[in-house]
């Protein structure tokens, strides 16, 4: 009994645990050094950009830095009635510096986003300041309030106070078609201007159906691949992988050639008399195009995990099921299908996550009704240059993917995923 509590020593008299650690240390360092390049790569190309995106998406320091004295004075203001003299004095001295640096335009732009009408009253104030009309010996509050009637409106001062915190979640609310109302409440955008919510829903819908179609088409292919003799299955495997080796743009372009109204598919339909020549259906620049092209492009991501799982299922299991009296359908449904669930999970998760962030294909073949949230993100990155809003939506997308992953883990268990 006492030997259990006693420390076990090696023959040299060093405690066993110490010498074990010593012996393992070299291997641990070696293993770590091997991982370092990847770790650095991930940190530089993945973790840091995501951190930067996050900071951008909540950053609201501009006004905070422009009006430091105003916000210090505002700390004592209750925000209900007109602010006291000190706030006006602080604002005036901040504004003078802005005028000197010619930054008052930026302030007007930013404050105008918070509340309409700031643009003109700041211009008016700017002119007064430029002409040295403000007498610093008298009450600055009275003089500013005389510049324009909106300066006498408490709502405008409330709007300035709202921009005080250096961080804001407004971009995230905007991504969900919501905004902060005048008293800090979260408000809904008017019904006819809610574009983002439609895009989110459409993205989910298209990702869901693309996953479903890939599953319905990929399952039989994977099964065939797993059961065919080697010489045929190799050929089929090449057919499945061929799209992988072709540029995404080329594939999308070929879908455009196939699907357009004067395209090959429509020509064929007309030839066999399925549709009239003057009544060719639209198969592109709408959801149909997005579904068709994305399903084809993402199909290998469904087939490969399914194939790798099906390959491990012994054909004798189906035979056993049949010899025990199960019809082919029961043998499939009760035996084969449950055993492929890890592959189904992996394939669906992969396709869904890839589809949710898909960009080029829907942009080219989707038209107006087939574009996704990632196209909106790209639009803000490239056209409006509102990077913080693009970052916010990108992070919302990332969060959505993580939620999907979490739900999947709860339902199926990530340990059950089999990618190959």
């Amino acid at each position: 009994m006492s030997s259990e509590t006693q420390q076990i020593l090696t023959t040299d008299g060093i405690p066993l645990s110490v010498s074990l650690k010593k012996a393992e240390r070299k291997n641990k360092i070696k293993a770590f050094l091997l991982v370092v390049p990847l770790l650095l790569f991930l940190i530089i190309t993945y973790i840091l950009p995501i951190g930067d995106m996050f900071m951008r998406s909540i950053d609201d320091k501009m006004v905070t830095n422009m009006l430091p004295k105003t916000f210090t004075a505002m700390e004592k203001w209750d925000g209900k009635e007109m602010p006291p003299e000190e706030v006006f004095a602080g604002f005036y001295s901040d504004f003078k510096i802005l005028v000197q640096n010619k930054e008052h335009g930026k302030l007007a732009q930013r404050l105008n986003k918070e509340k309409n009408g700031f643009n003109s009253i700041i211009k008016k104030l700017f002119r007064q300041v430029q002409r040295n009309k403000i007498d610093e010996g008298q009450s600055i509050k009275e003089q500013i309030m005389k510049v324009h009637k909106r300066w006498r409106d408490v709502e405008y001062w409330q709007a300035i106070k709202r921009t005080a915190p250096p961080y804001t979640t407004a971009k995230y609310l905007k991504g969900m078609d919501m905004y902060y109302g005048p008293d800090g409440n979260i408000m809904q955008v008017e019904e006819d201007r809610r574009i983002h919510r439609i895009l989110w829903l459409r993205t989910l819908e298209i990702a869901f159906f693309v996953t479903l179609f890939s599953f319905l088409m990929g399952y039989p292919i994977a099964h065939l691949l797993a059961t065919l003799p080697m010489k045929y299955s190799n050929l089929l495997m090449i057919c499945v992988l061929l799209p992988f080796w072709t540029s995404l743009l080329v594939r999308t372009a070929s879908w455009m050639i196939l699907l357009q109204q004067q395209g090959i598919v429509n020509d064929f339909f007309v030839m066999i008399g399925l549709v009239a020549d003057d009544n060719r259906p639209e198969m592109m620049y709408n959801k149909v195009g997005t579904y068709v092209a994305m399903t084809q492009i993402l199909l290998p991501f469904m087939v490969l995990p399914l194939y790798s799982v099906m390959k491990t299922i012994s054909p004798s299991l189906m035979r056993a099921g049949k010899s025990l009296g199960g019809t082919p359908f029961i043998a499939f449904w009760k035996i084969y299908f449950p055993l492929t669930i890890p592959g189904i999970g992996a394939g669906c998760l992969l396709v869904f996550i890839l589809a949710i962030g898909y960009y080029i294909t829907p942009a080219l073949v989707g038209g107006a009704s087939g574009t996704l949230i990632s196209n909106q993100i790209a639009y803000h990155m490239k056209t409006t240059l509102d990077w913080s809003f693009a970052s916010a939506m990108g992070l919302m997308l990332l969060t959505g993917v993580l939620v999907v992953y979490w739900v999947y883990n709860k339902l199926v268990g990530v340990d059950n995923i089999k990618l190959g």
Partner: protein, 361 residues
């Protein structure tokens, strides 16, 4: 009730996979009800194909298989009611032992109570009661094997097929499972068709053995007859150990023949030789040849000991005898101290009755 002697009947069955080679050639085989029949043969001899045709996973290219006088070629496997134990057990890995056993009963729409009873009974038959909730992966190889046997029997099939079921087990376990399967067969009287390439397994378990080679049944008989009286040189070679001499028949008269070898002549029992001048292979079991026989035997020859291998209960002696340097003798270790030493010359004798002159190799 007299047992149906033609419970399973293969009638002129041919099978080809590629249209070029016949894997099974003109197979005619009757299996009696309640019989334990083994299909024995080297790999590629067509035995597993026969089993698959009986189970319904392969269709005969020609001929018909009858089960209880009904042709079954057009009946799909799940309607044949034949139990099957697979080589790798084929237990459903996502189901518990109970669910595995209940599967054939559920698809037959048997009530829950009856399923419980039958599963209980089947599990106790293979002494695995209490393992209902284990997953197959949690069982040892031998236990998985027993579950597979129980599952093939649980729905009371008329015929159970076993496709090399013990191949994956180690030697000791294999032997004990052989007895267990044999006892189960004896106690429930089900017809068993067993496929193996292991001759000792076939000899211990079967009522009758069909030796397959080259798509044909070479010999169909009880284990003892198969060993003692092989009808051709393939069977003699495949079952047990065997000393052979190739030669030419020079004399054939009243139940014995004289065979001229490259070095000398021996007397043999003419099994498949019909006339003088034929080539033949004479087969003698090692235990039928004695060293310095006391009784007079009609074959007596001197040989040189070339190798002695100690085997515990017996010693194997390799001799050069009549030009055959692969002549094996088994000497029991209890026997009187013979002068078995390397290079010694000893006298070997056997009865011409035990030297079977078969077809030439």
């Amino acid at each position: 009730m007299s047992k149906n002697q033609e419970f399973v009947k293969f009638d002129k069955v041919d099978k080809s996979y590629d249209g070029k080679v016949l894997v099974v050639k003109d197979l005619n085989l009757d299996i009696a009800e309640g019989e334990f029949i083994t299909m024995l043969g080297p790999s590629g001899s067509g035995k597993t194909t026969c089993l698959m045709m009986l189970a319904g996973f392969e269709t005969p290219t020609n001929g018909e298989i009858y089960l209880d006088a009904n042709p079954i070629s057009n009946i799909p496997p799940h309607k044949r009611g034949i139990g099957m134990v697979f080589q790798n057990y084929a237990l459903f890995p996502h189901m518990t032992v109970y669910e595995n056993l209940a599967f054939p009963l559920k698809v037959r729409k048997i009530s829950k109570d009856d399923i419980d009873k039958k599963v209980d009974k089947a599990l106790s038959m293979v002494s695995l009661s209490g393992f209902e909730n284990r997953m197959p992966a949690q069982l040892s190889g031998g236990q998985q094997q027993r579950v597979a046997v129980a599952r093939a029997l649980v729905f009371d099939p008329a015929v159970v097929l076993m496709d090399e079921p013990l191949g994956a087990l180690d030697k000791n376990l294999r032997e004990s499972m052989q007895y267990e399967i044999k006892h189960i067969h004896e106690s429930i009287g089900v017809t068993v068709v067993y496929v193996t390439h292991d001759q000792s397994e076939a000899l211990t378990m079967s009522n009758r053995i069909a030796v397959f080679n080259d798509g044909k049944v070479q010999q169909l008989s009880s284990p003892d007859k198969l060993y003692e009286e092989p009808v051709n040189s393939f069977v003699a070679e495949f079952i047990g150990e065997n000393n052979t001499f190739g030669g030419e028949v020079v004399d054939l008269s009243n139940g014995s023949c004289k065979v001229k070898l490259s070095h000398g002549e021996i007397l043999a029992n003419p099994i498949s030789v019909k006339s003088k001048g034929e080539r033949t292979t004479v087969s003698i079991r090692p235990e039928r040849a004695l060293i310095n026989p006391e009784n007079k035997m009609d074959n007596n020859h001197a040989g040189t000991i070339e190798e002695v291998i100690y085997h515990g209960d017996h010693t194997r002696v390799r001799l050069n005898l009549l030009g055959n340097s692969e002549f094996i003798l088994k000497v029991p270790n209890s026997s009187k101290n013979l002068d078995i030493k390397l290079g010694n010359k000893i006298n070997i004798g056997w009865n011409s009755q035990d030297a079977r002159a078969l077809d030439p190799k």
